[in-house]
């Protein structure tokens, strides 16, 4: 028993508390909900969905965006498959959430590449931890040659350093590189920048590198 709760319930609450944005109190509320209010099917369905989620949804093999696994067992996202998009323009973002925020602004008509993390020596993340090899082969993909890259990492120190690193890498490959224009709040998350600001930042991008 922990805080008067049966151990099993406390365990579920602890597991739920690992989810992003879920605090201890909320986790306990969810756990109690499954144990009492919810009918059995709700818990079973959720459990089954969670177990099989990974079989059906995985990072896109071209861009790391979240993708549905096709009949052939390959994961390719809707953006990579969309033939109406400008295949010569690639937007590099740190996280899937940033990609979604830029998509909401409607200002990006090209494709994406999700890094998954930023250069951050103070947190032990070095250049070798970034998917630079995958990015290089994506850029040199003979099926879809990239001419322009927009680096849309967040305007934090780590985001700027990552952008500088990428610019140097790609400048050497003869690709035109531009950086998302400032206007996004400094230190702020792209996720929380409003759509107008983000749209302007993409349209007002500056070439650098």
């Amino acid at each position: 028993m922990r805080g008067g709760l049966p151990a099993r319930l406390a365990r579920v609450a602890q597991m739920l508390a690992r989810l992003p944005g879920v605090g201890e109190k909320t986790a306990q509320r969810y756990a109690l909900f499954f144990a009492t209010t919810a009918d059995e099917a709700t818990a079973r369905e959720l459990g089954t969905e969670l177990v099989t989620l990974r079989e059906h949804v995985r990072p896109c093999e071209r861009c790391n965006h979240i993708a549905e696994v096709g009949e052939d067992g390959r994961a390719r996202c809707a953006i990579c498959l969309d033939t109406r998009r400008d295949g010569t323009l690639l937007c590099i973002v740190a996280r899937v959430q940033d990609l979604l925020a830029i998509e909401r602004s409607g200002a990006m008509r090209g494709r994406y590449f999700v890094l998954g993390r930023l250069l951050s020596p103070l947190e032990g993340v070095g250049a070798e931890d970034l998917p630079l090899e995958a990015l290089r082969s994506r850029l040199q993909d003979p099926g879809e040659p990239i001419r322009e890259v927009l680096v849309a990492t967040p305007p934090s120190v780590d985001g700027e350093a990552t952008a500088l690193l990428l610019a140097r890498e790609m400048g050497a490959m003869g690709i035109q590189v531009s950086r998302i224009a400032s206007g996004v709040p400094h230190g702020g998350d792209l996720e929380f920048a409003d759509q107008v600001t983000l749209g302007r930042a993409i349209e007002g991008r500056k070439s650098f590198g």
Partner: protein, 403 residues
């Protein structure tokens, strides 16, 4: 020791152009609600427009009350190393709600409510219920200048104290300077970490070092420019204040000794040239983290030549100059917070303090263990209020009330 009363030669500023009566200072703290700040569990304070005497024995919460005002005005503390120290023992949240009133010439006064709170490690601030665009913009809305016993190390102690002084001023002159400083600091530490890894023969590409070095150069140059501007503004005020407070015969000069460069290209080259050496020392040998404000009297460093009394006068002059510089940059009279005036009772020291206070034109809050010694002949009874602080409880005293 029989101490004589400290007669504060404060006068209420007259309205310009005649006998129209007194004008209150342009920035006033009108009301303060404190919850759970150190040992002050709850306080509701309505200060007087001119002088507020916070009286009580040591350890009962006098300084905490000043700290609460400082926190509501700046989101920071003048004595805590970690902001979590402000939270009362056994509580989760510390919060301060302050109502400030600002006057712009003849226009009707404008009131605003500033809230600052700490929960765990998180600090949140609001102005009239809204989140300000940045902490820097919050901290410059209602300027306060604090003077507390620790600041006696300002002239003799490490350069970091003087850098902090310059950064406080820079904030009022260019709010973006705080952002550059935070970025410089992080980029510098990141570069150092990358250099150390490279020294341990780990595979670190030049591109990674260069990326952080570039940010060090760009933000470091911005910090250097902001501090240079702060010294340019502070210098004349400081020389003037020192002549007034210490001795008119002595000439004091303040010089910015930059550790870096205002020129980005020069900074780039300097950093690139020192990689190997920097990897082996605690921090980089070049950059504004090595800045100092060099103070000298008649051409000699104050550290060497100044007497204890002169150090004291110089510290007060620095505070007077800080106040004047903020007044000029922000256009309002900063609120003055003086901690532990009782320590000034030594007659030699009192005179410098009195001269300093004579320059104060704004609202003043001071703490003391000896309330009876604070007399304010030039201040109307309605413009002064005394508060007693005992076991964290704050009680206003009526004007004639004797301790």
């Amino acid at each position: 020791m029989s101490a004589s009363p400290i007669a504060l030669s404060l006068t209420t500023p007259q309205a310009p152009g005649g006998p129209g009566g007194a004008t209150p200072p342009s920035l006033l703290l009108e009301r303060l609600l404190v919850r759970g700040v150190r040992n002050v569990a709850h306080a509701d304070v309505q200060p007087a427009p001119r002088v507020n005497v916070i009286w009580g024995n040591n350890g009962h919460g006098k300084t905490s009350l000043l700290e609460a005002i400082y926190f509501a005005a700046t989101s920071r503390s003048f004595r805590a190393h970690r902001m979590g120290e402000l939270v009362q023992h056994g509580e989760k949240v510390a919060s301060v709600r302050a109502r400030f009133v600002e006057r712009w010439g003849d226009l009707p006064p404008l009131a605003r409510e500033q809230v600052a709170s700490i929960e765990g490690r998180r600090c949140a601030v609001l102005i009239d219920g809204n989140r300000p665009p940045s902490l820097a913009s919050f901290a410059t809305r209602s300027p306060v200048v604090a003077f507390h016993p620790n600041e006696l190390s300002l002239t003799t102690g490490p350069a970091s104290g003087r850098r902090t002084l310059l950064d406080r001023l820079a904030l009022f002159m260019d709010p973006r300077s705080a952002d550059h400083r935070a970025r410089y600091d992080r980029a510098l530490r990141a570069r150092h970490e990358v250099l150390r890894r490279a020294e341990r023969a780990e595979a670190v590409g030049d591109a990674e070092i260069e990326a952080f070095e570039e940010l060090c150069a760009v933000h470091g140059a911005a910090v250097t420019r902001a501090r240079a501007a702060a010294v340019t503004a502070l210098g004349p005020e400081l020389e003037h204040a020192f002549a007034h407070i210490a001795a008119p015969g002595l000439s004091l000069s303040a010089r910015y000794a930059p550790g870096g460069s205002a020129d980005v290209q020069a900074a780039r080259e300097a950093l690139a040239g020192q990689r190997r050496r920097d990897a082996h020392r605690p921090s980089a040998g070049f950059g504004p983290h090595r800045d100092d404000l060099e103070l000298s009297i008649d051409g000699h460093p104050v550290r060497v030549v100044a007497s204890q009394g002169q150090h004291r006068a110089l510290t007060l002059a620095l505070k007077a100059a800080e106040t004047a510089t903020i007044r000029a940059a922000r256009g309002v009279e900063p609120i003055l917070l003086l901690d532990d005036v009782s320590s000034e009772l030594d007659p030699d020291r009192t005179e410098a303090l009195l001269t300093f206070l004579g320059t104060a034109r704004g609202q003043v809050f001071l703490t003391t263990t000896r309330r009876e010694l604070i007399v304010t002949p030039g201040v109307d009874a309605a413009d002064r209020r005394d508060f007693r602080v005992q076991d964290g409880a704050v009680t206003p005293l009526s004007p004639g009330e004797r301790p």
